[in-house]
Structure formats: C-alpha cells, structure tokens
C-alpha cells in the first residue's frame, strides 16, 4: 500500500529518462552507484560542519527539522505507527519514516536509538538520486522529499544516506524509496502538515520527545538533533542523573522553564 499518490511503476518509468531496469539490470548498478558514492561527500556531510567541497551543490536550508530526546523516549513506537498511518492508512513499523530501535536487554542510554530524517543541509539523498526523484521542495519550505512517481527504486538514496540506520526508507509494497516529508503529504490525517503545520510523530508522542523546530540543528554528527527536551517535571521522576537545571543562557530545545541542559550522546561510528 502506498501513500496518497499511488502510481504504477511501469507507467511512471516510461515517462522518465531512466528506468529502474535501465539503472539496475543493464549492469549500471555497480558502476553508477559506486560512482556516486565516490563523488559524494557523504562521510563529510555526516561528520563535519565544515563547508562542503565546491562541487557539492548548495541547497536552500529546510525551514523545519525534527529534534528528539532519546533519553526521554520510552520506546512505545507510537511515532512510527502514527507515521505509517497518516501516510499510508496502515500501521507498520517497516514503512515508518522515523525509526525507533531498541534492545530490551540493553543498558540505558544505548539501549535505544531514535532515527528520524535530519533534513540535511547537504542532503546526500537529493544529491545522489539519478532521476531527481529526491528533491528539495522549494514550494514547501525546502523540505527534502521523494517523489515516488519519479522514483525508479534503485535504492541509491538508501545507500547514500550517511546515517545508521539510513533515514530514507524502502517501501517494499510499492518498491520505492520514501522519506520523512514533515507530514506534507498525509492523506490519512485531517491535519495540515509540513512547515507551519503539524507532524504526526510530534503530536502523538506521549513523552513529547520529538519536537519540530525551525532553526537548523548543529549538523555535527547527531549532536544538534538529539537534544534535551526534559524539564523539571521529568527531573522529578528521578530517572536520569544528568537532567540538571542548567545555568542561565544555556541553550535548550525543550519547552517550559526552567530549561535543562542539552544532551548530546555521540552518534554511532
């Protein structure tokens, strides 16, 4: 089952320069994908806030981002199920464009990882898409999106996303790549999404552990996205030893006062 725009892949492909078959079956797979990997500074994008090499195209910054607090998350997966429901009308973890990964036997805080799309400043998914199906939607706040009508299912964007797990998500039902669109296209929800609208994961998270922000988070590893969204009420639960009230002037993505110190666990290597 697909989202709002269901399109037959054969019909779609016929309208494009490339087809999935052209790209994969003719033997271009390895060459084409590897070439893209070689020329795209994915690692640099992930690891460094430094300006990109000249050959990397500049993109207008997204006017919206999802930040999250992985220490506040309880792992209920409501965000994932809200995502799949509003986009596809079903409840599915595999189709969700935000992933919560957890191990019941693990040790806090590494027992759980939250993985929403970062709406990257230099988006490798957009850079690497051979058919421009992955694009910056300038009409909608520069959200990085995938047009599934154009997508040929080559999975290049999955391979090029530098994050683990990759934030581009394979939809096995329509055999296309998808990604977070900040709920711009949610045919199964009565609310308006996107920039200035609402996001299903943000609205449904019972812990308020996901937040929409307009300011671009720090692009260095995951530091800028995994923030402290806890206030004094969470502190009273006594769960964490580092939810301290922070000195005035400290920056927090969290709402409510007093603000708490930002947390920045390191990204996976």
């Amino acid at each position: 089952m697909s989202g709002g725009k269901k399109t037959d892949s054969t019909e779609t492909a016929a309208k494009k320069k490339f087809t999935r078959r052209d790209f994969l079956v003719t033997g271009g797979t390895v060459v084409a994908v590897d070439a893209l990997i070689a020329t795209t500074p994915a690692a640099a994008v992930a690891a460094s806030p430094a300006p990109p090499p000249e050959k990397v195209q500049a993109y207008p910054a997204s006017k919206g981002y999802l930040v999250y607090d992985s220490k506040k998350c309880i792992g209920c997966t409501t965000c994932m199920l809200s995502c799949s429901l509003t986009h596809y009308g079903v409840q599915s973890l595999s189709l969700a464009r935000i992933q919560i990964i957890q191990d019941s036997f693990g040790k806090f805080p590494t027992d759980l990882e939250m993985a929403p799309c970062r709406q990257c400043k230099y988006p490798p998914c957009v850079q690497s898409c051979p058919v421009q199906a992955c694009f910056v939607d300038e009409a909608n706040g520069n959200v990085r999106r995938i047009d599934t009508d154009k997508c040929i299912g080559c999975k290049t964007c999955l391979k090029m996303c530098p994050q683990q797990p990759h934030r581009t998500v394979w939809n096995h039902e329509i055999k296309k790549s998808t990604k977070c669109d900040l709920c711009l296209e949610t045919p199964y929800w009565n609310e308006k999404g996107g920039i200035g609208g609402k996001q299903a994961c943000v609205e449904s998270c019972p812990m308020k552990a996901i937040k929409f922000v307009s300011e671009m988070p720090d692009q260095k590893e995951t530091d800028g996205y995994n923030v402290n969204l806890r206030n004094e009420h969470w502190l009273k639960l006594g769960l964490v030893d580092d939810s301290r009230i922070v000195p005035p002037g400290s920056r927090s993505m969290g709402g409510g006062a007093p603000k708490a110190k930002m947390q920045a666990p390191k990204a996976k290597a």
Partner: protein, 700 residues
Amino acid sequence: MPGGYTGKILRVNLTTKQVSTIPTEKYVEFGGGHGIGSAVFFDLVGDQLPFDAFDPRNLIIMMASPFSGTFMPGSGRCEVQGLGPMLYPIEWFGHSNFGGRFTAQMKFAGWDGIVVEGASDSPVYIDVINDQVKIEDATNGVWGMDTWDAQQEISRRAVPGLKQGEWAELAQNCFTTQIPAVVACGPAGERKSRLGALLHGPGSQAALCGFGGVFGSKNLKAISFLGTGSVPIADPKAFMDARLWFRQFQWDVDNPRDAEIFEGGGYSLINGAPSGGNVTNGGPNRVPARAAACASCPRGCKMRLATGDSNEAVCAGTMVANVGGGGMFAAFGRKPDPNAMPTALSQKLTRQANDLMHRYGLGHWQVMATRGYIEALVREGVIGKGKQIDFELPPAGSFAYHETMFRTIALREGPLGALAAEGAARMAEKLGRYQKDVSSGMLRLTYYGTQEHYDSATQVEWGYGSILGERDLMLHQMANYPLHWMAQSGNPYLDAEQASKLYAEAMVPYEDDRYLVDYGEGPTGIYSDSKVKQVAWVKHYEKFWIGAGGFCGWRWPQCITNNTADRRGATPHAEPRFWNAVTGQNKTFADYMELGHKIFTLDRAIWALQGRTRDMEVFPDYVYDQESRGSVQPMVVDGKWTYATGQGRKLDRAKVEDWKTRFYKFEGYNPATGIATRETLEKMGMKKVADTLEKRGKLG
C-alpha cells in the same frame, strides 16, 4: 475481513511437525485475544475434556487482538491460554498474559495468533518471519539456556546478519530495524515446573497458570516472531483523531495536571507517570534509567537501567527477592534500617536476585507464595537440616538465600526442589497439610491455588471475580488502583461520594445504579444486587476489553483519572471509538460488553466440562472465619459515602451463597450449578456449546 485482523491464525502440531492455518474470519465474532482463544480451544479439544495440562492434547494458544500492532494505548499484551498446570485442584483452562512487543511482531508477520498442539519428541523452537514458519532444533545449545540467553540466541539465529541500529533485509526485499520478539520458557519450564513462566524480554512474564511448564511438556523452548507487514485500519483518519483525542487522559510529562498533588508520594504508582512499576530503583541511590513501554503504551511503567539489571520488570517481578531490605522501601519512601546493608548495594543485589528468577523462568506471583510457604515450614521445623525435608537454606534476606531458593525450585534440586516445583498447593497436598494450612490462612491460596492478592472481605470485586474465574483476577484498574490506592494515598483527589458517582456513570450498561462501588456491608454493599452488577461488569470487561482487546490491566478500564479537569476517565467512550475505527464495526460499548459476557459464558462451559461445580466457587475457610485485616474502599456507612477499611468484618457464607445465586441468575446461568442454560447459550449463538454440555450431562 474487518480491519485490525491479518486474517489467519498459525497452527503448529509439534507431534507431526505439521504447519497449517486457521482462518480468523471463522472466529471474528469473538473479537480477538482471549475470545478467539477460548473458541478455538473449545472447537479443537473441548469434547475431549477432561485431560491433564501436560497431556500433548493440551494447547498453547497465544492470540493477538485487532489492536495488536497498532497505537491503541495500552493494548500491547499477549493472551496465553491452555490448561494451566499450576491451578488447583483441577488444572483449569486458564489464561495469563504478558506485555512487550510480541503480538505486534506477530501481527506484522501476518498472524492473528498461534495455536500449538501435540508434543515434539525432541526440543524445538518455532521461528516465524513473515509467512515463513520453521520448527527449529533446540538441542544445539538453546535447550538448557536461561530465558535471557535463549531469547538473544534465537534472535541471532533468526536473523544472522542483524546488527542493532541498522536495517536488516529479510526475504522478498523487506526491511526492518526491529529485532525478533521471542517468548521462552526457562530451566523451570523445561523441567515441567508448575511454577514455570513464559518470559518475553528480560522481565515481561506470563506468570500465572504455569504455561512455562506446558512449553516444557511439549519440548518447546520458545516462539519467535518478526514481521515487516502492516495492520490494516478500517478508518485511519478516525483512528488518528481518536489517538490524539486520548492525549487528555494521559499524564502530561511536561506539564502534569495538579503536579503538586500527583507528582511522587503516594500517587507514584497510579498517576500514569512514566516508570512507576519498578519498585527496586528509587530514592537517592537510583541508577539512571529509561522509562520503558510495551508496544503502544503511553505510560511506560517499566525501566531499562544503566546497569542493565531489572530491565522491564515491574511490580511482583521486582518484589519477590529482597536482599538486605533493599526492595520496596526506596520507591515508597520508607526509611531503611540503619544497621542494614548499604542501600545502593541492597537495591542492586535485590534487582539481580529478581533477575535470577526471570532467567530461571519462574513465575513471580506463585514463587512468592511458594517462598512464603517454605519460610513458614522452616519456622515450624518441617524444613531444615535433619528435618522432614532435609534442606538448609542460607540466611534469609541474603543474596545466597534467593539464589538457592530459585535454583532449587527451578532445577528441582533435592527433596525441597522436587516438592516446591509443583507449586505451593501441591506441595502442601503432598505433605498432607493442604486443608489445614489453607483453611487456617497460613497458606493463603485463595483462588484455585493462586495466592491472595487483596482482602476478599472488603475488595470483594477482586475476590468474587477470582472465584468465579479460574485464578487471581489480577486486574488493578477495575477498582483497586483508582479507588483503593487513591484512598490509600491519604490524599484522595475525589471524596468517596464523588468517586463512586463518576465510577458508576462510566460502568455502562449499569450506569443507572448509584451503588456499584459500595463496599460497605449495608443493603447496597457487598452482598447487594449492585455488587452483582459490578462483578458482572468486571468479568465482562475482563473478557472482552482486557482479554479480547489485549488491554493492560494497569491501564484499563479508566473510569476516573487524575489527568482530566473533571476527573472523568476515558471509559466508556474510548474503547468503542478505537475498536470501531480499527475494525470498521459500529457497535456500542454495551454491545462489546455483551460479547464479554458471551466469552465469560464460554469459559465457564469449558470449566464445566473439566468438572467445575457451584460448590467449588467458594473461598477458603479463613476468609469467612477470620476477621478481615481491612482494605480502604468507598463505602456507604450509616447512609453516607465515606472511605473506610472494613477491618474486622467477616465474610458471611450464607450471604455470599445468596449473592452467588443472584449472580448466576443475572448472567443466565442455572443457580444450582452455575452453568449456563441452553436458553442463554442459544441466545448468545452458542448452540453447539449447549449440545456438547448436554451430551456430557453438564448443561445448566
């Protein structure tokens, strides 16, 4: 098919190794979970009853609900059914359930449930990934493992390339970041212990009934599910709207309502705030932890600790062992004994000792009863060095004491282990002391071999609801948390009159009865027709919403709540709103409660085939003969609502029997037998059940 169902139930015969499917559509009228499980059990083996729980004909039925795999709040539980070897004196057709993400993965794999029949001739486990079902050899390392190692090893074997934090590609180009959901028995279950539990994750237990022992009797170590599919929703927009509407009933983590009243203190377990279920990680020595939830739960009552001990265990799962006094006092603000072990060490060892219980696969609630009985027999000089049971335990309260206790029981070590593995009831029976010890209250096995939970003379919906069932009711949200524990806090947010009014208004279809939660001894109290209706409501809610819907008994029902301005809870509006949105059906709360009545009636028919009679549905003598210790509840005293304890009262046998007569009639059962009449069964569409009962001379 209505929304919410995948359309098929997996059927695995371990004797023949045959794998087949049962179409869910055949059983949709029973809702899901417990309802479908009871109907499947009746159809497959009902006419062969009675037989023993360890007979290969016994079934393990694990059913999901239409809500499983969805974000319906607090619906993440898995219902397990079959003959329960722990129950006494007859191994009743019983049920237990556990939280986590097992049913979610079952649904994503494309299954509404699994039915296991027969017994393998050598140890196996069942591995399901989407539509691929394998019966795998467990002799190569898995059999013999504790529950934690077994689950993790099976996960590794099921998806060899799985790395946490990355997408794994399964067959047919499907991807997941999730790890398999495994439920396993431990060494206790392998040895057919009647205390054997099923473990999912480190601390989520199906603790009651001894289903771990049934796994062992079938040479079944574990069942694993992993899926990449979807749960269809009939009306996605309505479902999403309902989920967001429900936020008003949740604890607001950033801005709790009336935080000065409800944050901490006596409300920490019942306010709906995250993490309150683990009572061994509190106070100044608390280890940093995550509040952790079952699939879809907006509360997250569990914890995952930085030390990794006591992960996901709650309530009794953190209470059985108590090393150096380090158990519950921290969470409840009790001051530790200054001469005792340092608190941090005490708490840590307490957590680790309880973990041993989980790893051995011992059911916490009944191990607690058995341990207590062992301690009593030590005091009486029955157990000890050179005594009738020649066994010396390490000093009570030490880590060694708990380690020895759990190991001895789980591995059936020595004369004590052989006895205790049979559970407290059969242990007492083998010692020739059952009647004496249970009647006197020394061994408080109040409901069919399961231990007393709350005082039966005051919290009577719990007591009545248990003896009219097959084991401890174990449903805190029915009236216990919201009423008893609210009053117990010392600072109830509703007075008794207000609470009883709001409660009654939520209890559709009996909302016109103002005295449903009167626990006094007056004309509207514990022997009244109002109590008949309350207990009927409890049993019907238990069977449909909790059982068929997979609801958590800590979250539902929600007749009142501290999280709304007017203190009204989500019941009875939320349940049908969510159910109808998911399934596409269009029924009322009362309609679904009547389905609960139907499932309850079917369960009672199965018990009748096992030999249940009215005279078995009684409490042990101590409940009638000894003065109640009391338990604070709302009561009408001298014509006025108040909170009172009922301390000193005795439950009156004749009045209880009279109450039962009225209850049976109310439910459409023959008051002489407690079994449904043909008229009742046929009215419910269960003619074949009536025919079977009649053929066996059991019709009510």
